[in-house]
Point group: C2
Chain length 316, copies 2
Amino acid sequence: MLSGDANLTIRPETRDRILLAVREQGYRPNAMARALKQSRTGALAMVVPLLRNPIWSSIQRGALQAAAANGQVVMILDEPPDDLRSPIDYQYLIEESRADGLVIATAQRLTGTRPQSLTVPHVYLNRRGPDGGNNVVMDEEGAMRLFVEHLAALGHRRIGVVDAFKVIDTVHRRTAATRALCAEHGMSATFEHAVDTEVGGYDATLRLLSRRDVPTAIGVGNLNQLFGMLKALREVGAAVPNDVSLISFDEDDCLEFLEVPITSVSMPLLQLGAAAVEALVDRINGRPGTDVMITDPLVLVERSSTASPRGARRPR
Amino acid sequence: MLSGDANLTIRPETRDRILLAVREQGYRPNAMARALKQSRTGALAMVVPLLRNPIWSSIQRGALQAAAANGQVVMILDEPPDDLRSPIDYQYLIEESRADGLVIATAQRLTGTRPQSLTVPHVYLNRRGPDGGNNVVMDEEGAMRLFVEHLAALGHRRIGVVDAFKVIDTVHRRTAATRALCAEHGMSATFEHAVDTEVGGYDATLRLLSRRDVPTAIGVGNLNQLFGMLKALREVGAAVPNDVSLISFDEDDCLEFLEVPITSVSMPLLQLGAAAVEALVDRINGRPGTDVMITDPLVLVERSSTASPRGARRPR
DNA sequence: CTGTTAGCGCATTCAC
DNA sequence: GTGAATGCGCTAACAG
C-alpha cells in the first residue's frame, strides 16, 4: 500500500490511521530494502565526458528531468578524454545492481576493439552503438541541411568545415551529410578535423585557409573550436562575414554577445537527454525499444556572421 | 572475505578455490543487499545547478574522482535557477537510504527562510551553510587580493566590479574582501550586481560606466557576465586595456583566444570538488569534521586585458 | 478485508 | 579454520 498499489481494497479509516502514523513517526521506506526485494534499484547510470562545452549541461539536465519524472535517480560517471573506456567497463554497475540501466553518452567511439555489445539495459546517447535498436540521436543530417542550404541561399559555392575527429559519431554523420548536401547543391566542401578545443579550432582553421580554394563560408563543430577559429581569422585578417561567413553547430547565449554575433544551428539537447532516459526506462520495463531520432525542431539562429560572399550576387 | 576482510584466517587452498569459483561463474556481489546489511549505500548525492558555466564541470569532475577513489558513486541532482529549494528538501535521499550523504553545491542561499540545519551527513560546497563545520570553500579573499593588488601595482585607483547577486555566498565574500582590500590600498571600489548571464553582465557594465567616477579597471564575476561586459565596452567604445583593464574571476581556456585575451584568477575547482567529497566521506565515517578552505594555489593568469591606466605612471 | 510470513543477497555471529 | 544460521527492511503471497 505504501508503494501506492492502486487495486487494493482497504477500509478508509484503516488507511487514514496508517497514513497518520506514517506522517507522525516520520517513516521513510528504505530504498535499498525495496530495491533488494524488487530487484530494481530505481537508479540509472549515465556516462558523460564532463567537458567545458555547455552542451553537456543541457543534455544532463534533460536526462535528470526525465529521470525524476520516472522516479529514477541518476548517477553520473565521468569518462575523461584521456581515459577512454569501453561501454562494457560500466556494465558492472548493473551487474552489481547499483543501477537498472546505462546511458552511454560518451561521444567517442573506441576504434580497434571488437565491438562487443552490452548485455544489460542500455541506450547510446548522441551516438550509435555496435548493437542496433539502442541509439538515441539527433537529426544531424537535418542540421547540416540548415547549414548548407542557408549558405547556398546566400550564394556560397565553396564551404569549409572545421570539426572534431570522425571517430566521434556525430562528426562522422555531419561530415557525410555535408558532403552529400554540397554535391546536391553543386558546392564544394573541404573538411579539417582536430581536437575539440580552442587550439584544435585554431590550427584547423589555419590549415583550412591555407588550402588552394579558400572557402567563402565555414561551419564549426563546437563552441571551443569556434573561439580558436575566431582567433585564426583575426590573425590572417579575414573579416566575418565580409571575407568569410561562419556558422556554429553549437548554440550558446554567448554567441549573441561576440564582436560579430555568430549564426548557429540550435539542437534539441534537453530533449535528447530526456529521450535517452525515456528509452532506457522502456527497456528496463521490458518494453520493445528501437532507435530513436529526436524530432524536435532544429533552428537556424541567424545572427551577423553569415552574408553573401564578396562579389557574388545573391541568387533569386 | 569477498569484501576484503584483512584479519581473517583462511587456508590458502580454500581461498583459491573460492576466488576461482568467483571468477569462473562471473559472480557479482549485490550492492543493494550489501547496502541493506551494512546500512551504507556507497552512494553520495550531490546537488548542483547545471549551468552553462564550465566551472561546474570541473567541480563535478573533481567530486567524481574523489568519490571513485573512496569507492563511492555519485548521484547528481539538478537544482534549476528557477526552482530553488532548501537543502532539507534533499534530506529524504539519505533518510530513504538512497545515499549516505549530501553535497550541497548550489550557490544560492535561500533568503527569508529560517535556516534549518540538516540532520544527515552533509557538506556545503563553495558556500557556507547555516550550520558551521560543514563548509568547504575556496580562498575567495585570496583571489580578490590577487585581483586588487595586481591592479594596484599597475597604478589603478578606481576599480569596479560586476558580479552576481550577494545572496550567492561567494559573491558576498568577494565583495566584502574587495571592499576591505581597496580601503587598505587607498582605492575606491564600486559594485554592480546582476544575474550571472551575458545580459546581466551587459546591463551591469552599462550601469557601472554611467557612474560619476568611471573605474579604470573592472573585475567580472563569471564567464557569462564577461561576454556581456565585452559587448557593453565595445558599444561605448571603451578599449581594453587602454581605457579600462579587465580581470575575470572565472578562468577558461577560451579567454586566451578572445580578441584581447583576458587576464583571470584561476581557482582550484577540481580540488574544491574533491575536498568536498573527502570531507563528506569523513563525516559519514563518523570522523570529526571542520570547515575546510582549499589551500591549493590561486593563480593570476596574466594576459593582455590589464595595463596601467591611461596617463598614470606605473608606480615603483 | 486484514494480519502474518517468507525471502531478496549479503555480512556477521555463532557452533562446529 | 570452516560451515550454518540470523536478520537488515521491504513486498508479495498467503492464511485468517
